[in-house]
Assembly symmetry: C2
Homo-oligomer: 425 residues x 2
């Protein structure tokens, strides 16, 4: 019999306990041993729980209990779970965590501390989809060329609604909050931060890159309007919040990796563009296998618990794989490109005076930064002296585009904020 | 250092050797050890190979070589590779196979022989997509409710062309043969047999069901016409050759499993309906995680080799998971339903006299078998006395539908063959 202790018995923790009980027969058949929850730790002992397990409000009752074999960390936060996971590992216990923030900041220290003790985290990224396993094991023959992930269900739900129903951002956010898909303070989701944690985890497995959220480009979906949606439809794009990891050659021919999270226009015919609503999906391109995609629910108590239990079963079976997927240094010399070095195509929306010569001023300003236009659309506004100008550029460097946007903003014929979205083909 | 011997150095075998060489750095980093091909066995030593490895035409040089740690079986066929894999396992060697036919017939004997020795087969099903790993490990917390797989690229390529380009089956088959996507004798692919082997492998992991191809319903795509394609478009369906495994309650309330391969009408909005061309995809619904999907290339030397090497790396890392995903009997009492017991919706195409009373005769005949019509379309033919009648039924049992088709065929007003396709919603 294998005994589990759970740190944090909320929605996911309750699902873990419930599934281990209700699907106990099949889980035991697959693992070869019976798996039971011995105890759990919660902050508030007075709160009513849906499952009948022994609870304590002292984490030591789990991490220091010699009878517990595997500690499941579902607390959230960063530093407190880090200290507890560290102690559990030092006590020789295997650990399963669903905590993406913990891993976004401490995965390399934890790998070091864990050594040969299993520390697994399938549930940390894309919920119930076993994409960590796919990348860590299933694609191990490949140099990874790119990863594109829809890894935040809140954003994908909101974007799908904006595109399919034509509603404005604020209405949809309100609706998502009412449905419980978005938090009262939605910044962590709609600002791209949640997706960035997951991207950093995947990038470590793919490239062995140690980066923290502060090191990478993170933007959200807050500035998307129905004007952008209409342009995207017209030119054959979907708009998705993507976490992107991409191996590229820098200016000196050295290999580097772009890591970025932002709203992205992608061709409607790509598989990931077809992923709608709260669902998640991760596309991985390997140099030998080509494109593979993993699709499923990215959140929810039972779906996340499904991934937590998969890790528990794998540990019980005797899995000894390296935490981040490699036993020696991976692709030494591969560096994280700075935000400025990103090279991609851009979509720009701005308001201009509706008069002759404006287009010439815009294109000439772009030309100063070596940027050329790929496609353009001009639309009237309710003010007949002002037009909306929407265009996409050919590939250019982020730093040049940022400078060009500043320069455009200084033109007398340009009014208000200039909106920008990146394009991936 | 880990030494590999390859039985059958064709396209996939050459890719395995080439990738182990060219991606040796990253594979070693992930596995923790250097992996080299020591030797290979081929039928025809005089044939030129693209890779430089020691070759023999005597299988014993691989399966009995004490220096070889892992035998990779890529021969094709059933009985000869079975004998050799058995011998390799008895010699204590781990085995990786991409041979779906071998597993469709001998997976349970091989599991018994292997015992604690790793015998892995990620490449046998859906090529480069790590779906075996997902089902075997990533979804282990779940009772599997259903599996739907596009697992034959030839069929999916042909159906995509028929739907998108309006061409007839025979033209497309010719084109697929010219492109090398279909064999000179295409029966194994277009008849559904290839997909059935893969379905049986997945069904063993999901349900622990020991069945052989002869035990299940297998139909192909040979009888699909542009009339069917047009009907499908009109009513919001795509047509795919699916391998389907589905847990259902039989008439006595006992759980049983349907296993079947056939051309299927599925709703256009389902994710698997969006998988086009030679690509493969497998959708798995678990009782806790809900729907997940795995998408990628189902064939090709490098993609298949990617899966073979993933298994090798997993073995080198010390993976000791059970071959078919469970260590004890799985869901005892679950039985394979007979073909007759399948319950689904049906699409029927038939030619009838274009005169009054015909519809009444048809519906009354269907009524005798308790079958009712869901939707119907009547189309003229080049012969103005004959009309095409296309309809879908509500759910009914396969045996009743088969009897009803026979009865319809005996009506004076019905002419020629009656075509049938199953529908999954």
């Amino acid at each position: 019999m294998v005994k589990i202790g759970i740190l944090g018995v909320g929605t996911v923790g309750e699902s873990v306990a419930k599934i281990l009980e209700e699907n106990g027969d099949i889980i035991e058949a697959r693992a070869g041993k019976k798996i039971v929850v011995k105890s759990g730790v919660v902050r508030d002992l007075s709160k009513k729980r849906e499952v009948d397990i022994v609870l304590s409000d002292n984490p030591s009752d789990v991490v220091d209990d010699p009878e517990i074999d595997i500690v499941v960390e579902l607390m959230g936060g960063v530093e407190e779970p880090y200290a507890l996971v560290k102690r559990a590992l030092e006590n020789g216990k295997a650990v399963v965590t669903a905590n993406k923030a913990l891993l976004a900041y401490h995965r390399y220290e934890l790998q070091e501390i864990a050594g040969d003790i299993p520390l697994m985290y399938e549930a940390s990224t894309a919920g119930g989809i076993p994409v960590i396993g796919a990348l860590r094991t299933g694609l191990s023959a490949n140099h990874i060329e790119s990863i594109q992930g829809i890894m935040n269900g809140t954003c994908n739900y909101m974007l799908t609604k904006m595109i399919n129903e034509g509603a404005q951002y604020d209405e949809i956010l309100k609706e998502a909050q009412d449905l419980g898909y978005a938090e009262a303070d939605p910044t962590f989701d709609v600002g791209g931060f949640d997706a960035s944690h997951k991207l950093l985890i995947l990038a470590s497995i793919a490239y062995g890159l140690d980066a923290k959220p502060e090191d990478i480009l993170i933007e959200g979906i807050e500035n998307i309007t129905q004007t952008d949606v209409a342009f995207a439809k017209e030119f054959g794009y979907e708009i998705k919040l993507l976490g992107i990891a991409k191996k590229v050659q820098d200016e000196n021919g050295e290999s580097g990796v772009e890591l970025r999270v932002h709203a992205t226009m992608i061709p409607q015919e790509s598989m990931i563009a077809k992923v709608d609503g709260v669902m998640n999906a991760v596309t991985v391109v390997g140099d030998r296998v080509g494109e593979t995609m993993y699709y499923g629910p990215g959140a929810g108590g039972d779906a996340t618990a499904s991934a937590v239990i998969a890790d528990i079963v794998d540990i019980v079976r005797g899995n000894q794989g390296p935490m981040l997927g490699y036993k020696k240094g991976l692709e030494s010399g591969l560096r994280l490109l700075s935000k400025d070095e990103i090279v991609t195509q851009y979509y720009i929306r701005l308001e201009v005076d509706d008069q002759s010569g404006v287009l010439a001023a815009i294109t000439s300003t772009l030309g100063e930064f070596g940027i050329s236009i790929e496609s353009m659309l001009q639309k009237p506004t309710h003010n007949e002296e002002i037009a909306k100008l929407l265009f996409t550029t050919h590939k250019t460097q982020e730093s040049k585009m940022q400078d060009a946007i500043k320069a455009l903003g200084k033109l007398d014929v340009v009014h208000g904020e200039i909106a920008m979205m990146r394009i991936e083909k």
